[in-house]
């Protein structure tokens, strides 16, 4: 909201509010339709300028809008720093041979009859280890696409399976930028957020895997292990040392996650372990350590799959993402300052009286934002800034908000053809978005499951840490992180609610 309660400042009407969105949407849709294929950075920047002009018409001063832009960016500064650190982490893991080791040993345990469910689980595991659905898709994804092709499976089905696993892993991973961003913009702790997500995402993943198992068992196919063997051999040939010991850094991520270390020191600590492993096992020196952290790993091997697998990481590789985050988050900040989304969707919040309605509205807004603004980051930021006070008023914990953002937002973004996410996945996997959409079971089941359980009053986290399990039992968890002021408001609201409807733990 505007800081100047001054003269002539007004909320834009619906037409004015929709102009910046229409500008962005028309550029991005025409880019998609006409196959120009440019990145969303500049269109977002143009939309920023348009939004600024609209704001000027509505009476906001330039400084107000700049402040709005900068405040929004500063809010996600922690996420921006974490994204840089995660780049370092991936770089050190690639050099240490940890990520290739995950792939190598993952490939060993996959059997053809159970290809789909196992691959899905593997994608999820690697997704957790990497914190990036994009990297999973670009490495395992391509490999599984070809394995799936040798088995005569529908490419849309394989792509959907990969995305289900990868998105789920991405969601769970404390390293993922979307996880960090959702927790960051909701003002909750990273691991509180992950804990809340487990209640909806894990059952959905189980359901998705059951579906894939049924499909996999039904269709019998011949399996060509050659592709997997080639990749395994290339990995073993390239790295000086390959043994299950290299998987330790991945396990360490889980340990650190359980220790509740703050995100930045945690990621840096694990990167340091990665460096240490690279020095001990792969013979890297100090100069290599600096290179792997800054520019990632780069090597030339004959196997094309192996090339795309190992040449990754580094702080530098994250700059593209950070660049987009800064402009996109800033665009959201300007829209917020001039009140555009409030003008378009603000009337919905007035009808919200129950947690279920709030979760539904949050999810819809998140999906609306991603579809119109083409970016999953905006899909987390705008709904959170619009509704976070409402969560406090209803006595809900902030991690309910962050979870809903991911249930609706993170999972929806690969399904929008012109979003950066959807365009990337369809290009890398060679399957059009609409073709894999019906098979992304995880992405479809999760929001529905979250809505149904919320409708029944289950899996909703309250500000004092209480929640009701899927079986209807009340449980007391640790108090989820929230800004102090918000926590006080929520606790007061919760006390009111509990006075009317007492619960027994």
């Amino acid at each position: 909201m505007s800081s100047t309660s001054g003269k002539g400042v007004r909320l834009p009407n619906k037409i004015e509010a929709i102009i910046p969105i229409v500008v962005l949407l028309s550029i991005m849709i025409s880019s998609y339709v006409l196959d120009w294929g440019f990145d969303p950075h500049i269109p977002v920047l143009i939309a920023c300028v348009v939004a600024g002009i609209i704001g000027k018409i509505c009476g906001h001063s330039y400084n107000d809008m700049l402040t709005g832009f900068l405040n929004a960016v500063n809010q996600s500064l922690e996420a921006i720093i974490i994204i840089l650190c995660v780049g370092c982490l991936i770089g050190s893991f690639e050099w240490a041979g940890t990520i290739p080791a995950v792939v190598y040993y993952g490939l060993k345990i996959i059997s053809p009859a159970l290809f789909l469910p196992l691959a899905c689980i593997l994608c999820a595991i690697v997704g957790i280890a990497l914190g990036s659905a994009w990297t999973v898709v670009a490495t395992l994804g391509i490999a599984f696409m070809s394995i799936g092709a040798t088995m005569g499976l529908n490419p849309g089905l394989v792509a959907g399976m990969i995305l289900s696993g990868a998105c789920c892993g991405d969601k769970f991973s404390p390293l993922s930028d979307s996880t960090n961003l959702s927790a960051g913009v909701s003002g909750t702790g990273l691991f509180d957020h992950v804990r809340a997500m487990i209640t909806t995402t894990f059952p959905s993943l189980v359901m998705a895997i059951i579906l894939y198992t049924l499909i996999s068992l039904k269709g019998s196919a011949t399996y060509d292990p050659q592709i997997a063997n080639d990749l395994s051999n290339a990995i073993v040939d390239h790295y000086d040392y390959m043994s299950p010991i290299l998987l330790i850094p991945v396990l360490l991520i889980i340990v650190v996650a359980l220790m509740k270390l703050p995100a930045i020191p945690a990621v840096l600590l694990i990167s340091a372990v990665g460096c240490l492993f690279a020095v001990i096992f792969q013979g890297a020196n100090f100069a290599d350590c600096i290179t792997m952290l800054h520019y990632g790993y780069s090597a030339e091997v004959e196997n094309e799959l192996c090339n795309t697998l190992i040449n990754r990481g580094g702080m530098d590789s994250m700059l593209w993402t950070n660049n987009l985050v800064i402009v996109a988050v800033g665009f959201g900040g300007i829209l917020q300052t001039i009140g555009a989304v409030e003008s378009l969707l603000g009337h919905m919040i007035k009808r919200v009286h129950t947690p279920f309605q709030l979760i539904l509205v949050t999810m819809l807004t998140s999906i609306f934002c991603i579809t119109t603004m083409c970016d999953q980051y905006i899909g987390a930021i705008i709904p959170s800034s619009m509704y976070k006070e409402k969560y406090d008023e209803l006595g809900l914990a902030r991690n309910t908000l962050s979870r809903t953002l991911e249930d609706g937002g993170t999972l929806w973004s690969p399904l929008v053809p012109w979003s950066s996410c959807g365009a990337y996945h369809s290009k890398v996997l060679g399957v059009s978005t609409l073709q894999y959409l019906p098979f992304c079971f995880m992405n479809i089941i999760n929001p529905i499951y979250a809505l149904i359980t919320a409708g029944l009053g289950r899996n909703i986290f309250y500000a004092d840490g209480t929640y009701r399990t899927i079986f209807g039992k009340w449980k007391q968890g640790s108090v989820p992180g929230a800004p102090e002021e918000a926590h006080e408001i929520a606790m007061a609201a919760l006390a009111e609610i509990r006075k009317e409807n007492p619960i027994n733990l």
Partner: protein, 474 residues
């Protein structure tokens, strides 16, 4: 920092440990390994945070908050740097920079070679916002001419670096200019305007000295074929018209009329895009060039080097450096290192003149000790920011001083990133050309003169006079 009274004060030797780490990690990393400063900085940040947590009992949350606060103050500068990336790409695609370079080179006359050289290098580095680009292109070409004329190469190198640094310093497109304005929290255009007071006199003096030196050599018979071929390539690839001067003039007008930097740069970018359409580029190409940088293959390697610049992603490198450096600055502050050092400085330097002298010395020392010009801007800015406020000095005095003593002296340090770059491009080591880098001596001297006389210093609170010594408010 309300709980400061409970927290242990950090002793001076411990407060200097992060700086010692910086030197121990950074110097070999940059000189021997040729690394960028980001990762060494992160290591130093880690060590500083550990000192804070283990020795002085600070909480990680507070340290992280200080890092984020420090970065938040520079976020506007980061955003401007990004838009500058777009602007440079658009000005390249629009033929504006090629046009400016073309007319700059046309003005080149071999008869007054040494006088022209700094001026032309200044034009190129002003319009591209990069001293290195100027030295790596026109600089190399001029070294060839100088060799043909019998002008000593160190003299020519000195002239090139003088011009390149002058242009870089006063260009709002330059990353060091943006950085100095950003870390001190000064409006970019205010910073540029304030710098003119010290920079123009010192550049004029330097050019005069070169003019005098130039009379010793007969330079009429210069072989300017390389320069001519650059002009010709520009003409083949772009429509060169005097209209291109509209673009830099519009930026100068915005400086004069005090328009904020972001809309100013956005306007400049739009002008560039319009020119690019006139040059016949299509929207799709311009959009991707504004992200990834201008991209052209002319067949003339020097022209490619001159023009293939810009784009937001190129600027993200600077931004990632800013983020790392300010995280280090934030950690220093939250652990109490800055506080201790400030007290020591104030204990030793009571007057405005001596404080600013200490500041000049620390900037120059940072260039020698960390081998990186960005560090010479960022680290002293964090150390001296509060002291300037105590003297009722506007932060733009600080930002100007940082550039006057940090940016210009980086070239004379043989092992610094700048010194190494000039050595690799111009083929003359800083050990030989440093006597001829007149800017590097004249500007700090002018700055010191200002520090003691108070000429052109601006007060922070205009209703009160600038204090001449810190003890006045005690």
């Amino acid at each position: 920092m309300e709980k400061n009274t409970e927290q242990k004060k950090i002793p001076l030797w411990l407060a200097l440990v992060p700086f010692a780490c910086l030197i121990i990690v950074m110097l070999p990393s940059i000189i021997i390994l040729g690394a960028s400063p980001q990762i060494p900085l992160m290591m130093c940040t880690g060590i500083t945070s550990l000192i804070g947590i283990l020795v002085t009992g600070r909480k990680w949350e507070d340290i992280e908050k200080a890092m984020i606060d420090a970065n938040a103050s520079a976020m506007q500068a980061n955003f401007i740097i990004m838009i500058v990336g777009c602007l440079i790409a658009a000005w390249m695609a629009g033929g504006i920079v090629p046009g400016l370079i073309y007319y700059g080179l046309k003005a080149f006359s071999p008869g007054i070679f040494l006088t022209c050289l700094p001026v032309i290098c200044a034009i190129v580095s002003f319009s591209t916002g990069s001293a290195w680009t100027a030295a790596g292109t026109i600089g190399i070409a001029s070294m060839g001419i100088a060799a043909g004329l019998g002008v000593p190469l160190p003299v020519a190198a000195g002239a090139i670096i003088t011009g390149a640094q002058f242009g870089d310093k006063i260009s709002p497109l330059s990353d060091s200019t943006n950085l100095a304005a950003g870390v001190t929290g000064v409006n970019l255009f205010d910073h540029v305007k304030h710098m003119l007071w010290t920079t123009i006199p010192s550049f004029t003096i330097a050019v005069c000295i070169f003019a005098v030196i130039g009379t010793r050599y007969n330079t009429d018979a210069a072989d300017v074929s390389q320069i001519n071929s650059i002009c010709q390539t520009m003409q083949e690839n772009f429509i060169i018209t005097p209209w291109v001067f509209i673009a830099p003039l519009s930026v100068i007008m915005m400086i004069v009329f005090r328009i904020p930097a972001v809309p100013g740069m956005v306007f400049g970018t739009i002008v560039g895009v319009i020119f690019a359409f006139v040059q016949g580029a299509d929207a799709e190409t311009i959009m991707s060039q504004m992200i990834y940088g201008f991209d052209i293959t002319t067949g003339n390697g020097m022209v490619d080097l001159l023009l293939n610049r810009g784009g937001m992603l190129e600027m993200m490198n600077t931004i990632s450096l800013v983020i790392c450096a300010l995280a280090f600055g934030g950690a220093l502050k939250s652990t109490g290192c800055i506080e201790t050092i400030t007290e020591v400085i104030l204990g030793a330097c009571k007057t405005r003149g001596s404080v600013m002298t200490a500041n000049v010395i620390s900037c120059i020392a940072m260039n020698f000790l960390t081998a990186d010009q960005y560090m010479s801007i960022v680290i002293p800015s964090q150390m001296f920011k509060d002291i300037y406020a105590k003297l009722n000095l506007h932060p733009k005095n600080l930002s100007r001083l940082l550039e006057d003593s940090g940016t210009v002296t980086s070239g004379i340090v043989p092992w610094s990133t700048c010194g190494a770059f000039y050595y690799s491009t111009l083929g003359v080591s800083a050990l030989f050309y440093f006597p001829y880098c007149f800017m590097a001596y004249i500007t700090p001297i002018i700055t010191l003169a200002i520090a003691f006389t108070g000429f052109t210093l601006t007060p922070l609170d205009t209703s009160k006079p600038i204090k001449t010594s810190v003890s006045e408010d005690m």
